[in-house]
Each structure stands twice: as structure tokens, then as C-alpha cells.
Symmetry: D2
Subunit: 348 residues, 4 copies
Amino acid sequence: MNQGAKLKIGIVGGTGYTGVELLRLLVQHPNVELTAVTSRSEAGQDVHALYPNLRGHLDLQFSQPDLDNLSQCDLVFFATPNGVAMKLVPGLLQAGVRVVDLAADFRLKDPSLWQQWYGMPHACEDVLEQAVYGLPEMNRSQIAEAKIVANPGCYPTAVQLGFLPLLERGLIDPMHLIADAKSGVSGAGREAKLGSLLCEASESFKAYGVSGHRHLPEISQGLAEVMGAPVGLTFIPHLTPMIRGIHATLYGRLQGAAADLQALFESRFKDEPFVDVMPAGSAPETRSVKGSNQCRIAVHVPQGGDTVVVLSVIDNLVKGAAGQAIQNMNIMCGLPESAGLNQVALMP
Amino acid sequence: MNQGAKLKIGIVGGTGYTGVELLRLLVQHPNVELTAVTSRSEAGQDVHALYPNLRGHLDLQFSQPDLDNLSQCDLVFFATPNGVAMKLVPGLLQAGVRVVDLAADFRLKDPSLWQQWYGMPHACEDVLEQAVYGLPEMNRSQIAEAKIVANPGCYPTAVQLGFLPLLERGLIDPMHLIADAKSGVSGAGREAKLGSLLCEASESFKAYGVSGHRHLPEISQGLAEVMGAPVGLTFIPHLTPMIRGIHATLYGRLQGAAADLQALFESRFKDEPFVDVMPAGSAPETRSVKGSNQCRIAVHVPQGGDTVVVLSVIDNLVKGAAGQAIQNMNIMCGLPESAGLNQVALMP
Amino acid sequence: MNQGAKLKIGIVGGTGYTGVELLRLLVQHPNVELTAVTSRSEAGQDVHALYPNLRGHLDLQFSQPDLDNLSQCDLVFFATPNGVAMKLVPGLLQAGVRVVDLAADFRLKDPSLWQQWYGMPHACEDVLEQAVYGLPEMNRSQIAEAKIVANPGCYPTAVQLGFLPLLERGLIDPMHLIADAKSGVSGAGREAKLGSLLCEASESFKAYGVSGHRHLPEISQGLAEVMGAPVGLTFIPHLTPMIRGIHATLYGRLQGAAADLQALFESRFKDEPFVDVMPAGSAPETRSVKGSNQCRIAVHVPQGGDTVVVLSVIDNLVKGAAGQAIQNMNIMCGLPESAGLNQVALMP
Amino acid sequence: MNQGAKLKIGIVGGTGYTGVELLRLLVQHPNVELTAVTSRSEAGQDVHALYPNLRGHLDLQFSQPDLDNLSQCDLVFFATPNGVAMKLVPGLLQAGVRVVDLAADFRLKDPSLWQQWYGMPHACEDVLEQAVYGLPEMNRSQIAEAKIVANPGCYPTAVQLGFLPLLERGLIDPMHLIADAKSGVSGAGREAKLGSLLCEASESFKAYGVSGHRHLPEISQGLAEVMGAPVGLTFIPHLTPMIRGIHATLYGRLQGAAADLQALFESRFKDEPFVDVMPAGSAPETRSVKGSNQCRIAVHVPQGGDTVVVLSVIDNLVKGAAGQAIQNMNIMCGLPESAGLNQVALMP
């Protein structure tokens, strides 16, 4: 693009946590001009009245989601509940607007699988076919060409990045993968739900979705693509008493000849701007990525046994949502991949 | 014992979190009289000056740990750092005083293993031989006869109770057990350590002790005893941003004929006053046991695969320390096993 | 009452936080039999399915609120939203059932003031006249005779107990009282409200209700009764990122001759089982009363100036709600005032 | 300064929370080159080994504090314990290096007052005389000329900014000011202290320093300078269970003719880049400034009485420490005052 010109960006559904996180990052992005932030419920309201952290940074009102208006954008982010984007995206694509969907609408390739896990038929199977799964560390070149990118879920980002080097090299049994994942409460979104109350979720820890979480088929699909064959995965998410952060603890049974796993991980990610392989023996803290787009990873083989343990942390709202979406936007639009994404994590 | 008489009880090392939790429970125990609470650093000080929650419940001063004084007790709890009890216990046993040690001194049967993991030679191997591992659900009858009981660690309690029914029946591969465990910060004790500061440990989540935690050999020893053969265990503890609670997520590979695991767990624990098998499909929250001596357990086989997942929660300071110690005391002294242990968890 | 017989107790509205706290305390009360816990939304459901901390302690189902059924009780607690009790209480009183209302329906003596602050006309002004304000430290003898007791709000309990000794003795200017009060989030109840989400309320602190909180007229009414004249009060409540606890910091301008305030407070409360005046120079922590019915108070005159500062802490769900309600029940029914209320606070 | 050239900056004492916050902000500052970060205890260690959030942002090792080395800097920040800077600053000033001290060494004009509150004689009274108190909203022009700036304490920043407009116009009784202030735990620093443990400080709230906190004379000095006469202040700080944030609730007795306080505050701060007067009726949340250099203020007169209430929030580590220090550096060095300080607060 023209160096001086700025991308015109729209956000559909700007009131949730991924919406406000997009706003936090985009108001500081050097190549972006925010032209529309939509919300049916808040239309007409100053955006900073809902999110006072944006006072002084953004002078824009929520507007009604409107195809004419959004069609003026170069790129539109959907930060809407599942099932909304698939109804609006076809129109936008026809108008020549590129799209990054932060919901699940375009993540599963198989529309019947979508219907099974999300309880509704897919509204635009033809668009689904051309959607690219937006994990840059796997699909960078396809993302660069994509018109519509399905931004990965938060758990799938942390889990896939951790398993990737091992599966690509066939070093673990792909039929018995275990992902024990822990998420902060913001993963449940900005909805008035009992289970997300401070009095219900703080000072406590629990597993949920044990019988089957929607991110399971998404992770399985991604890992199967790496393997060229189905994988077997046990995925247990847990609710953790903190706002932000995902910690995935991954277990695999080693197979084949011994390998230097530390070297393997470092080599696999050495050119990745947003994957940081920690020194041998480390255990990354989620707070080390709070507010930043980094994924920090450590690999261990405890007691020199045959079980490998990978620790992978991200901020679920950044690398697990809004940050990765902007990373995808940068790739799609020919900007430096890190543009607007160099925040240092807030610590403490 | 005489119905009216009360047990004379001493606590050595009453300033830590297990110490104050013993005090909270013992001042309300109907069959107990507290006669000594020792602390070298706080001797002479009112106990309630350190722990104002005890104001009005306990009128006692910390005293110097003194064999003569402690020998007047019927039973003494050690809530001291590792390596203290093993020096004082022989003298107390000779004086006819029974002992429950809440530290690790008498947990590992093999003194060389103790030295390897705790970095000091064992001070009384002969006493070690007669010590009984105080997990009532495994060793109730031996505890009843014991003079010295090694109270289990917090992680080992949650992990062993969860694996027990499966291993006893040979239903899982014992060489590839995985225990992904999460603990509140009180597990690190009441010590002024950087890593336990609110600003370091809240709003974050991390693994630790990945290369080998001291509770690993303790759990392995207990499970091996069940199997009559060594087991293979990967144990990864994690620090969770809350005060109390342990959540163990256990993974095993099913083997042999299919079994009704829900029925198995319910039957195994149906007479246990402090193990509560949750209804099928449940996921216990740690807060449901906050302040109580319960262990709540649920068993799952996600997607009907060959991996069983057990969820086991305790309050690390109660069933994982002080509560279980009192449960052991009750058994040793012929009291009702639940005496003084019927607290309802604080929720919310 | 007959020593052996147990009081038959009903709870209307048992699903909120004050409801479950009543249940936690009542299942351990030696003189009480729970006969009905009502909830329109959960009728038929096991109580312990909603509150797993009660598993093993209570085998009762929620029932529909039903006058016939509740009329079998000796005493009924209302733990309902404001405006519910005033419709049902007249019928219960006619049936000879005594009532403790934990909502606000009977707290304000003046029905027009009620309507102004609660936005609805009062439904039974005649009953309102006979209602006794249930702060035992002010109204013990009237409570003993009462048929209907209005259990004080959480803030009013902490604030009134702190100002009481000073106002009774005329030691401060009653027209310029300041109460800066901080509450844990459970004060907002178990409702799915955005502002009570962990992601909204943790890691943050704010004032609310600055222009006028409903507890303001309640506190003013109580303090005016002490003075026999109106008082002037600035009351600013704040939302604090924790589950339980109220901390009231009270400021008054000293007037008249100098007095030994420490001695005054100790003497005023020396026979009160649930008010604990801390040693001079202390600052009580809210956690020192977590789960207990105590109010802990300290009094200071910083820099020997003319401003007195009183620090007053309670657990908003216990002394600020369910515990005080049971204290009132004990007084009304001739039981020992502390029966069932000797819990030691959970610390840490 | 030369547009292209970058300021050479040193930090003495870079291991504490204000140190790492300086680093977070300075590695992103467009006009700054970090040349030295000193720490006696960590010398030789990579800075990012201690603070992994800096991995990829800073390639520097801690060095010994050394006058020769530091003399190469244009400006040096002291983020040391109280009493360290006053020993090193004279040498640096002689070498022509400007200094911003984030500790208390140069905050109190009167060296005997310093000795009284900090327990040691002042080491360089002559330098103290030329030090400028670095609250830009009061002393901007003097800061621009200063060689040594005393960066204000966190409480004093929030409290003085809130009282300023009222005192400047003589609208409140200056002899009876009340500041009820609440701070997150990071205000206590990165020291292994019992009281700062998660298990001691979370799920609780307490006042501290009631008889006299070191920020009291600092605030009094600043407000007295505004008035040209002594003020009377009751200042009660409280420990709040969160990492970052200060909320000051200020109370004053109105005097003189009625004034439009909202308009007064807006007008007083309309040109201030880092003071944001909220709309009438607002209550700012501390999280709205988390990680940002803003102070958000609201002014109220509850019930139209004679007591004014000001709510003032800052991030204690940013506007209350490192951010304000950089704001001072910008002013001292002729940079745009907001350079490097435009972070949007992290919310949620």
C-alpha cells in the first residue's frame, strides 16, 4: 500500500473484550485509521463512555452495523458472537472488503462439523471454502493472499504452537495427545453470566467442558493437517482465577530416535516474531505475556522419561484473539508483521 | 478413652499456615484441650496476636519447644519445616507421646530416597520404620495402631485418592500416569518469599518443579504400594492465583475390559466420610471444599476414548494438611473419625 | 423453649449469597431443624446441587414459597430481593410465625422514605410499625420481644457500631460524620450483573453510589435515634476486589472535653459477644472476620489532632447479614445468643 | 536537543517494581537510549532474565552502580530504596548529569523533617535546596530548569491533584482535610515481606500507617505551598487486594460562596495531558488507568451538602512513579511532554 495512506478499518461488535482489545491495539497502530465500530445495543454512544481507558485516544461513536458504511473499509474485523459473521461476510467480500473473523464461523473446514458443535447450519459454505485459518506460524503465505481469515481460538493457538514442532517431526504418538489447558476468565467474554462473577470464579479452580469443548475439533483439525492424518486428543480446559492468560500444559509420548528438543523448538521458531522459546529448564508465566502478542514456550522431558511436556503461554485476548487478528491484518495488507504489536507485557 | 476427659494436645511450630489451621480446627474440637503451641521466634507472645481470627477462641501463649513440657501431651502435631520433627520425635515416642508429623520427615520409607530429595541424612531411621503413612483411605487400620504417623503431602493426597480405584483394579497402564496438579499459593507456606508475593503470584499462572518436585517420590511410593510394583508417573505442579485449594487432573490409559468407572468410584469410597464422588458428568470446584476436610472427585472418559480423566479437589490446608492430621489423630485415639471435622466449606 | 425440641426454621429465597450463608450456619446450629427452603426458580431441585459445599450436610429440596407450608415453621428468614417480604410477612405473622427479614423492607421506619429510596410504596405499613431494627448492640431487649425483625444492612452494621460509642457520649460533631466504606463484591448479591464479573471487578477499585446509596437513610435513621436528633452523614461506599468483607473507615470531629476513647470503646462493648475492640494502635483486617460473626473495631486519633478515626470490619455475609440474622433469631427464641455462631474466621 | 540524537539514560536500582516499570516505558520511548541499568545484587545478569516481559525488547545486563559509567548519561533515574540517591546524586550533578529521584530523598524541603520521618540525617542539604518537586501540574516551569527533580510519592500525586483546584481557590477549610486512600500491593515494592504475600494481602482489606505514614508530611508540604500556610490533614492509607492502582477519596468542608466545581476542575486541568476530569456524576475505576500515565478525577457534592468529595485514581507505578518520572524527564530535556507516555490502559 501507499506508505502514507492509512488502512480504513471497521470493527463489527465492538463492545466485548476482544472488541475493546482490538481498539486498544488499533488506536496505537501507525498504519490504521478506525472508521467504524458497530454495536446494535450501544449505537450513538461514545466508545470511550463504555471503555474509559480509551478517553483521549478515540473520538468515535458506536454505529449500527451497516453494509454501506462498512463497505468503505479496507478491512473489517468481526468481534461478534458465533454465527453473526457468516451472515454479513459474503456481502462485504463482494464489496471488495477483506475480513478477519475473531469468532468461530470460519474455523472448521467441514460445515457438518460446524453444525454439530455450534448447533446451527453454516450460512455460507462457499465462503467457508476460501477462508484461511489464521495461524501465521502455520499458514503465513496463504494468509497473505486471503480475503477472509478465520482467526484461531485462544486455546487452539496455545496448544497448536506447542505441539507443532513435535508433530511436524513425528516425534510423538499422534493418537494420544493430552492438552491440559488453563484460561483466565476473560475467555468467557463480557457477558453477565453467573459463572463469571468474581464471587463464583475467584478463589477457586475447576475444569469445564470435560466431555467436549468447541475448541477440541478446531485443534484436532489443525494438528491433523500437520500430520496429514487424524490425531487423538484429550483436551481438558480449566477456569483459572485471573483475568487474562492461557497456560497449556501439553503431554506427548515420545517415539522414534532421541532428538534435541530444545534445539528443535528454537530452530522451528527462530524467525517467528511472536513465538519465544524459553531457555532450557524454564517455566513461562502467563503474566510475562500480559497485554503482549507473544507466545512463550518451554519444552521438558521430566526425569529423562518417555513423556515430553510442553508449556505454552499466551494472553488469550492478544495472541489468542485481537493481537493475532492484527498480525493477520498486517500480513494480508503487506505491512510489517509486527506493526502496532510491540507492546511490552505489563509486569507486575 | 474416658468419655469426659479431653486429649492433651501440643503443636510444635504453630506459626505457619498449617499451624494456624490446626489451631482453627482444634479450638472447636469437642475432645481436645490445647496445652502447648511452640514457636522459637514467638515464644511468650499471645497466639491470637499473630492470628487475630483466634481472638476470643484461644488464650494461650507460644512457648519454647521443650521436651518436658511436650511430654505431658497425649499427642503432638509437628507443623515444622522439613527436618525438624525427626530430631524431636524419638524423645517424644520414648515418653509415650504419640505424634502426627505434617512435614515430610517420615513420608518416604527409603532413607536414601529421603536424603536424595531433601538434601540431608535421615536422623532416626529406626523410627522411620515404624512410621505409618497417614492416608486413612489406604491405611486406616495401621493408623489406628500407630505411634507415629506421617501425614501425607497436599498433592499426594489429591493425586493418590484419584488414582486409587483405577490402580487397585488394574484398569490403567501404571507406567504412564500423568498428574497435572494446580495449587493455591498457601501451599508454599507462610514464608517471605518473592515468588509468593501477591504482585508476583496473582493474575498469573505457571508450572514449577517440572524437572522434579518432592511430592513425586511420595506419590510414586504410595501408588507402587497399591500396585505391588513400581509405577511411572509424570507429575507437573502449577501455581494458581488463589489462597487455598488443589485441583489434580489425572490422566490414565485404559486397559483391559471396559468397566463402569462411576460405579467403581462410588463403591470404593461409599464408606469414606471425607471422599465425595460427584455425580457423573460433574466437575468439582476447589471452592466447594474451602475450609473443609472433603476430597471431591469426578471421573470422566471424554469422547468415549481410551483415556480416563479424574478430577480431584481438596483444600490443601485441610484434607491436604491440618484436617487430615486431625482425622489421623481421631483414628489413633479411638475418637469418631469425623470429630471436629464437620465444617461446611465457605462458599462464596 | 423445650430444651430438647428444635426450632422449625424456613428460609424464603434460598438461592442468593445470604441464603446459602444462612444454610451454612443453620445446618450446624444445635437448636435448629431446617424444614423449608424456598425458591421459585429452583423448586424441586436438591439444595446441594446448587451449593455443593452443602453435600452431606443437608438433604432438602427447594420448594415453592407457600404460606401453608411456611406456617408450620417457628421462624422464617426472608433472604429475598427488596419488596418481596412485605407482601408475605403479614400472613405469616397472623399464623403466629416470627420473621427475620434480611432485605430492606422493614428497615426504614418512615414509609415515605422507603418509597423514595426503594421506588415502591410500602405494602404493610401497620406491620412496619411493629418491626424492630435488629442491631442487638442497640436494641437487644426489643428484639427479644419482637415478632418481626428487620435485619440491618451490611454497611449500616459496620458504620453504626463504629460511631455508636462516640455519639452516645456526644464526643463528636453529629452534623459532619464521614463514613468511607469498602465492600467485597458479594455485597452485590448472586446476580448475573456486568459490574460483578471477575473481569470487571478484580484488579480494580472504585466508589459507587456517591450521590446517594440506599444504606444512607438507614444509617442516618439509626444514628439519629441514638442522638435523639438528626445527624449529617457523608457516606461513600467503594467496591473492593475481594469476595467477602466490609471495612468502614469513620471520621468525626471531636468536640467537648478530651476522653480516653480506647477505654470508652472497650467499656461500651465489653459484654458484647460479637464486637471485639482491638488493642490500641491496631488496624483490623477484614480477613480476621472472614466467615465469622465478629465485628472488630479500632479507634485512633492520628497525630493527636481533633479528628477521630474508627476502623470497623465485618464479614458482610455474616455479621452483615446471615450471622446477625441468626443472632437475632437466638435472642427472639430465648437461645444462647452465640448458639451456632462460634465459627473461627478462615485465615489465610 | 538534536532531533535525531537520543538521550543516554541510566537507571540506578533497576530490580524493583518502579525500576522494571521505567524499563517497560523507556524501551518504547522514541527519544531514549538505555545505557546502564545498575543493581549490586544482579550485576552481570541479563535484565530480561529477571523480567521476562522484556525478552526481545532489551539486550542489556545489570551493572554495578559506578560513577564513571553513569557520568556518561544525560540523565539518571534513581529507583533505589530511600537514602541511596542522596549519597550518589552530588557526584552526578557535578559531572553534569541530570537526575530524577523516584525515592523520597529530595521530596521534603526541611532536612529535619526528613530525618524525623526517615530516621537518618540528610546527606546533601545543599543539593536538597536546589531540588524541584516533580509534580508537573504544579511546578512545570521549575522542572524544566531543574538539575535534580524529586519525583512525588504515589499517594501524594493522587491526593494533591485532587485537592489542588479547591485549595487554590480557597473553597474548602484547609485545616480539616481528609484523604482516605487505597493502594494496590505493588506500592509496598518488590520485597519479600510477609504482609505482601498473596496469602496475607488478597481477600482482605486493612488500613495501615494510621498513626502517621511517610507520605503525610509530603502531602502537607505540597498543599501548604499552594495555600501559603500550613494545612491540617488526616491521611489514612489502606492496603487493597490488587496489584496496581491508587484510589484517593478526598473530603473537604466547603466554605465561602457556592462555585461550579465541575467547571472549576475542567478548567484547571484543561491543558494537562495527564489529568482527565471525568463527566459530572462519574466514579473513575483504578483499572481505567492501569499501565497508563493518566490521573482520572471526579468531583461530587453528595446530597447538595457542605462536604465536597473528590475521587482521584492513578496507576501507582506509572503516574505515581515511573511514568511521572519520564514526564519530568521529557520536560527537563525539552521533549514533548507526552513522548513515550501514550499507552492505553489495559482493560480488562
